[in-house]
Subunit: 460 residues, 2 copies
């Protein structure tokens, strides 16, 4: 990003964040930004992605930098570029200019960092060069995969407290990410008319994001095999009769994410079976969003989605029996084997690097229940939280062809009726929903969800 | 990639490669493929990129796999996907099917690998999880940044011997990469008419690569600041009068790269000063390519480029004096501060992970001479080598405004005349040239280089 484009309000936003941190966490904190990870050789790297915790408090994706936060004061550690760096990478802003943009109280070269590490808490950074440096300089293990302990665990809890509730600065970025993502999905729908493969549609969608000088917040899913939940392949030819499931989200230059899924028919027109299931998923989506409000348990939204889907499938004759009993038996998880959503912020699964510390209210842990183990969020909603709502319906062979599953649910599923819906491999509808004092605001509401509107966008 | 799309000839290509390895290297070899590197949290990774050495002998980008090569025999170590992997990632080919496609003589689960490591040579993989595993299993340091020693160094030399000379299988992939890259550049030129920013042009170019279900071989350079040699920023607005320098290359699904640069005017029409310099750079480009032939020293091509550029700048009145003397004084490096090119193959700087082992003929080392330190290749050319030819002209402030430089070259540069060329920040013309028995073949020849042809492509 260009230093001159940095919003003048950034320094105030960051000052407020570190003031709030100081109120709930007394020890000094040092957060590293990280370094580029090598791809096939040292000089050919993946794009730089700064640590999300660093971005939260430092605001800018500075490479190989660190910040010290203490009593609301910010010290930035960063080196001026070497002459050879300038030759190859051009003039970059002086560290004093960066410090001014983020409202740092002091700026020092990285060589000074070791003298400022007594008693500090930190969070491990993902790249090996950086966690190695953290481990060496702090003289204790600081590893991404290691459960946090002691002062670092306390820091993580404090950061969760702040990052759970998005401030105005965060929301401005999250709205930008949502807006670009909406355009990417519209471009994907429009490109479907001429597309021959999944890759053609992906190119149209990611092209919108690249043209905005932003990144993908996660590996795009653009597939006619919506039943492959984390598909990262794009080679399939698309044909009339297929549904395209596209889960594509933008990340802004300072790291804030959107996470949106739409499902559409290649021809523009859903078949009657596709439309039936689409409307079941949409009913679950709409029911959950209507309920988003402070105090509501996110876990209850998951069960609302499950119940709505089960009801819809009973109405379609795919399931049989009493809906409450069916959900009690986790029957929805046959077709909806993931959670209804997750936190969203600087990470697409926000703060997942901290395990379930962010997603699960203190004292709660993941269930091993079939329909609940993948629930990533189990907290009461509070104003300022941003969550996804993303119910789905999938015919996953690994589940539906499992003999144990078929035996267990023999009475509850009309397998013959289900076969009539063979042209529905996977449907998901996902939006980004902000909890507000008054209830909720769908940040991605400008992207239609109704079947007719989606058909219109595809057919142009 | 899709296992069903794997070329039936792959097994023979790989069998031939390991037979040739066995002829020059006796010890058993184990090569790891590598793992995904985390981005902002463990489950949100960068795209997988297998180790190039693994790809050379295993042919497919298999994640978390290893191969043992011994006396021309191939044993593949890979695990079948877990049931939960199948749930999230869909059905993947059985390891027996993969083994058959690559002509493996045996296939074993990864748990068997430790029993096959006695006396093996290896090459470090770039990602930390894998080099940690290599280090632990082999009980010696195997680190990407550590100079190779002993048996590993001998293996690296043997691999260089093979990978320097591209076989038919490699060339088929390299031609695919070249073809897609040519289309990407044409799309970038065409998109310039409506583009508002560098990012718009980048999106059009990378969109072509994504639509082919391929990757970028390196971070694209798409900039109006061509003088920033490794620019990876795309935020600038483009305006009439600007030149766009685009260095964008495709990598095929099995890892083979193209590396192409073109420079064009935003309006389609070069100014007279831009055209003058463009033609100087093109003359250097054409002169070097005309000389590519077995036995020619690549370093001589570098000096040919330097001399051609110096001559052209003398003709334009930018330089003054005897051309031979000027080149002797490294004057060309004021405007052309990098080498004329490098090896190209599975890596955009092929085998750069092995330091200068591939680029420098045994016994030769890098010069510390101003005009030569960045020369990445210093070998006599041989049939089957693929090299880039990429002369350029840049006005780099860090060089031209350096008082020492201005003093040293005071007599040789007409600084006032140079100021008349202020609208030429950077021009590079780069093609991928295969050394053949008869001389050379430009794999990227279908992308024009002549100024008029480029103008035509931009104006449409
Ligand atoms: Mn999501
Ligand atoms: Mn190059």
């Amino acid at each position: 990003m260009n230093i001159h484009d940095v919003d003048a309000r950034l320094a105030d936003i960051l000052r407020d964040r570190r003031r709030r941190l100081a109120e709930i966490f007394a020890a000094p904190v040092v957060l590293w930004s990280g370094r580029r990870s090598p791809r096939n050789f040292a000089a050919n790297t993946f794009p730089f992605r700064a640590s999300s915790h660093f971005l939260y408090f430092a605001g800018l994706p500075l490479e190989n930098a660190a910040i010290c936060l203490e009593s609301g004061q910010l010290t930035l550690f960063i080196d001026d570029p070497s002459p050879s760096h300038t030759l190859w990478h051009g003039e970059t802003p002086a560290k004093e200019e960066i410090a001014q943009k983020i409202g740092a109280d002091a700026v020092l070269p990285m060589a000074e960092l070791p003298a400022h590490l007594a008693g500090v808490a930190t969070i491990p950074v993902q790249d090996a060069a950086t966690w190695t440096e953290q481990t060496q300089l702090l003289d204790r293990w600081v590893l991404p995969e290691r459960p946090l302990e002691g002062i670092d665990l306390e820091l993580a809890k404090a950061i969760v407290t702040l990052r759970l509730i998005h401030d105005a600065g965060a929301l401005a970025e999250l709205r930008k990410a949502a807006a670009v993502t909406i355009n990417a999905h519209k471009a994907g729908m429009a490109a479907t008319r001429k597309a021959k493969t999944e890759a053609d549609i992906r190119a149209a969608m990611e092209g919108v994001i690249i043209a905005e000088n932003m990144s993908c917040a996660y590996a795009s899913i653009v597939t006619i095999h919506g039943e492959v939940l984390h598909s990262d392949r794009y080679h399939n030819k698309i044909q009339a009769g297929n549904l395209v499931l596209a889960d594509v989200g933008t990340e802004t230059a300072t790291g804030w994410a959107a996470d949106v899924t739409r499902t559409w028919a290649v021809t523009g027109k859903f078949s009657s079976t596709q439309r039936d299931i689409y409307d079941v998923v949409l009913a679950a989506h709409d029911a959950c969003i209507a309920k988003v409000s402070p105090g509501v348990e996110y876990r209850d939204l998951h069960f609302l989605a499950a119940t709505t889907i089960a009801e819809g499938l009973v109405d379609l004759g795919i399931l049989q029996g009493n809906v409450e009993d069916l959900v009690e038996r986790d029957i929805h998880a046959l077709f909806f084997p993931h959670g209804v959503g997750h936190l969203l912020g600087l990470d697409v699964h926000d703060m997942e690097d901290l395990g379930d510390l962010a997603g699960y209210e203190p004292g709660r842990t993941r269930s091993d229940r079939f329909g609940l183990g993948y629930l990533r969020l189990d907290r009461p909603l509070r104003p300022g939280m941003l969550v996804t709502i993303e119910p789905g319906f999938y015919q996953v062979p690994a589940i539906l062809n499992n003999p144990e599953v078929r035996t267990a649910y023999q009475d509850a599923v009309n397998w013959e009726r289900l076969m009539q819906f063979a042209d529905v491999r996977g449907i998901r509808i996902e939006d980004d929903v902000l909890v507000t004092e008054a209830g909720s605001e769908v940040l991605t509401a400008a992207l239609p969800t109704k079947a007719e509107d989606i058909e219109q966008l595809v057919r142009g």
